[in-house]
């Protein structure tokens, strides 16, 4: 997954030199995270002894995140509505993904928008062979996060790339999400 860089960083030495690369901040007096997205907060660390900086990425993989939907769903070419043989409102939820059973390249996932007692509305029309067939469901979950970190004498300053939230921890604290 490509990282959407929500921040750029720069550090400033006491003599005014600006750094935008590397990890050593020992001679710096200012460290700034500038949001690329205007809705995110800017962060500045100033006039504290700084040590280093790094970014931390988190990738996730799921085990066994796929199950067969009860009954046979009715998929129709050109329709975003999938008919269900029974009420699946307790099984399939908004945001889940469903698809016909078969190779992923032939029958890609559709995102569930609305579930009623007899049908499921998905995010786009189905393109393929109309069929009443077994189908799969998976529940997506956040699969990536990225932190910016500056290590200072006495504390660390972490900023989450997804929303700009900041967290201050002890200097040696390794934050794993």
């Amino acid at each position: 997954m490509k990282i959407s860089e929500t921040y750029t960083w720069e550090a400033e030495k006491a003599d005014g030199t600006i750094l935008t690369e590397g990890g050593d901040l020992t001679e710096c007096v200012r460290f700034s995270l500038k949001p690329s997205n205007g809705n995110f907060p800017a962060h500045d660390v100033v006039n504290v002894p700084m040590i280093r900086r790094f970014n931390r990425g988190f990738n996730k993989v799921r085990f066994n995140n796929q199950e067969e939907v009860p009954g046979m769903l009715v998929w129709e070419d050109g329709s975003a509505i999938v008919k269900t043989p029974q009420d699946l409102m307790d099984v399939v939820k908004f945001g889940d993904k469903i698809r016909q059973k078969g190779p992923i390249e032939m029958v890609p996932w559709h995102t569930v928008l609305v579930v009623s007692a007899s049908e499921i509305l998905t995010d786009r029309p189905f393109k393929g062979i109309s069929a009443k067939c077994p189908s799969w469901k998976m529940t997506p979950s956040p699969t990536f996060e990225y932190l910016y970190c500056v290590v200072c004498k006495g504390f660390r300053f972490y900023v989450r790339a997804s929303d700009g939230a900041a967290l201050i921890t002890p200097e040696e604290f390794e934050l794993y999400l």
């Binding site: 997954m1 490509k2 990282i3 860089e5 690369e21 590397g22 990890g23 900086r53 790094f54 970014n55 931390r56 990425g57 988190f58 990738n59 996730k60 993989v61 799921r62 085990f63 066994n64 995140n65 796929q66 199950e67 067969e68 059973k101 992923i104 799969w136 998976m138 529940t139 979950s141 699969t143 990536f144 990225y146 794993y176 999400l177």
Partner: protein, 168 residues
């Protein structure tokens, strides 16, 4: 430019399938296909084992300076339920064919956590420089599911494995 590090399910030391944000399915077959074929059948007594799975980090986009400190850990506690467990171990960079007999060594995946992760670069050691672009980095992590005779029938609640890394 931030690095892009992927999680691949491996079929050889340097050949794998990108499973980042995807699914790894423990099954009674040696392939990376996510389907409902070859399920693990609850035994009348004792245990059955899935084919082992191997995952490894892959550098899809290079960092500015380096990537280091690869760590693997699951979420919270085992949510698969009674009678179902997963073992994990770091096997370095020595490839061995996947197998469905009991894994020797290793530890429960849930002995690792965000506070005590499984080291992912003890043999193929970091730092990994931009020259590693489009290459596998770090060690192979081998996993195997065990199903005991008291397990409940049915699909399992998904669990998550996280790869964390630092970059500069």
């Amino acid at each position: 430019m931030a690095a892009t590090i992927e999680i691949h399910e491996m079929s050889a030391l340097a050949t794998g399938t990108d499973k980042t944000a995807g699914t790894v399915r423990f099954k009674d077959a040696d392939d990376a296909t996510v389907d409902t074929n070859n399920p693990l059948v609850i035994p009348g007594s004792g245990d059955v084992y899935s084919y082992t799975k191997k995952v490894r980090a892959y550098m899809e986009d290079a960092p500015s300076t380096k990537v280091e400190n690869l760590r693997w850990y699951p979420d919270a506690a085992n949510g698969f339920g009674t009678g179902i467990s997963v073992k994990a171990k770091n096997i370095g960079t020595t490839w061995g064919a996947n197998y469905k007999t009991a894994m020797s060594g290793g530890a429960s995946l849930w002995t690792y956590s965000s506070g005590s992760p499984l080291d992912g670069d003890g043999v193929d050691t970091s730092p990994f420089l931009p020259a590693k672009l489009d290459n596998y980095i770090g060690d192979l992590i081998e996993l195997q599911m065990t199903v005991h005779d008291d397990a409940a029938q049915g699909a399992l609640t998904p669990e998550t494995l996280t790869l964390a890394y630092d970059e500069i």
